[in-house]
């Protein structure tokens, strides 16, 4: 057994152990921290699978932004579900559920083991068409060129999620800002962190977006890092969350989907089919779309974390 194999087995058991902790931990907060740790470990697993783009997404969204969302919720819900409220399953039904889940896992494991060594692959086709897009990173090419329609709809899903979250607001708060009005004085340590982190993070976010054309990175990852920077600045209360009826905010939320859709329609008019990019101009068009996607993601994720409006709108 080589060192690398030993490392893989160790990493896999660690991931499994932390996941088990997340499910069986005694308290909700403990479980949530377990989940954040688990997300970080997953980024390592994706590196071992040579999926660096995925690792970057997992690091930024799966562990970072999701961590803020879940830990914030767990801290707020600390007083919520006291043990007496819940009706835990009886021992027998627990056993039944456990057997069912083991069966599902075993079936899936069987499928994994039966996969052919060289599975069907679109890698060949992805690389063949890559020069036409002008890109160097095939994952970005899949996202913005080959399967552009999927990605566009996925942007729409993000907008719908924001609409869903906002619609949970009480009527009188509609259009107001999310989060409670709190004391003006920010936590000084947090403010210090945000002041140093934000400029660096914005730089890294734009860098990740820009190199995404040729190397691991791209609009999702760069946008997520920018989003995280806005989140930390809001958490440090260096800036207030914006009013949800602000025009600029709503434009920024839908800009990514709109520009994407417009590019698709333009393709139908000028290049012959929906989402066809004109030969020779593919890369500029793709970067143009991506820039607006970055903007939308950087605005959408913080709004999802901030939650529904909780203050009456100022006029």
């Amino acid at each position: 057994m080589s060192v690398l194999q030993a490392l893989d087995i160790g990493l896999a058991s660690l991931v499994f152990a932390v996941a088990t902790w997340t499910i069986f931990a005694p308290g909700a907060f403990a479980a949530t921290v377990g989940y954040v740790v688990y997300g970080l470990l997953l980024a390592l697993v994706w590196i071992r699978l040579f999926a660096v783009d995925v690792a970057l997404t997992e690091a930024a969204i799966g562990s970072g932004v999701t961590g803020v969302l879940l830990i914030g919720a767990a801290a707020r819900l600390r007083t919520a579900g006291t043990a007496g409220d819940e009706k835990p399953l009886s021992g027998l039904s627990r056993l039944f559920v456990a057997v069912l889940c083991v069966l599902v896992a075993l079936a899936l494991a069987g499928v994994v083991l039966l996969l052919p060594d060289q599975g069907p692959s679109l890698a060949q086709q992805s690389m063949q068409a890559l020069p036409e897009t002008g890109l160097g990173n095939p994952v970005t090419a899949v996202l913005i060129a080959y399967r552009a329609f999927d990605t566009m709809l996925e942007k729409v899903v993000l907008v719908l999620a924001v609409v869903g979250v906002w619609s949970l607001a009480a009527d009188k708060y509609w259009g107001g800002a999310p989060g409670e009005a709190r004391a003006a004085s920010p936590e000084p340590t947090l403010a210090f962190l945000a002041q140093i982190l934000a400029p660096l993070g914005i730089l890294v976010g734009i860098h990740v977006f820009w190199v995404g054309a040729d190397e691991p990175g791209g609009a999702f990852q760069g946008g997520a890092i920018l989003a995280a920077m806005w989140i930390i600045v809001m958490m440090a209360r260096l800036t207030e969350a914006p009013q949800t009826n602000a025009f600029w905010l709503r434009v920024a939320l839908v800009a990514g989907s709109l520009v994407f859709l417009a590019a698709g329609v333009a393709g139908a008019i000028f290049a012959g089919s929906f989402f066809a990019y004109p030969p020779g101009f593919a890369k500029p068009v793709i970067l143009f779309i991506e820039a607006f996607m970055v903007l939308s993601i950087a605005v959408t994720l913080p709004m999802l974390v901030a939650g529904p409006p909780r203050r009456e709108p100022r006029q």
Partner: protein, 93 residues
């Protein structure tokens, strides 16, 4: 040399795992947050070592992203759990 780098990555992950066993169980929430912090640092270290050994491309950006977000769990905890005013700052710190 690659073997050495991978072995050290393994040792770091192992020590981190041992630390996790201790503090993920608490007793306090502060200990649990330390678990997130510990795995952040150890994970970045292991990540850099693994990428140096296997020659995976572009991994520095992943580590950079993780480093940027390393304090977010603690920040989110303080932000949601802190009382509205800060009685802490009154005692002259």
């Amino acid at each position: 040399m690659a073997e050495f780098l991978l072995a050290t990555a393994g040792v770091i992950l192992f020590t981190v795992a041992v630390g996790l066993v201790r503090i993920l169980g608490g007793p306090g929430d502060a200990d649990r947050l330390m678990a997130a912090q510990l795995i952040g640092t150890g994970g970045i270290g292991a990540l850099l070592l693994i990428s140096a050994a296997t020659g995976a491309h572009g991994v520095e950006d992943v580590a950079l992203g993780l480093a940027l977000l390393a304090a977010f769990a603690s920040a989110a905890f303080v932000n949601s759990a802190a009382p509205a005013e800060a009685p802490d700052s009154a005692d002259g710190r």
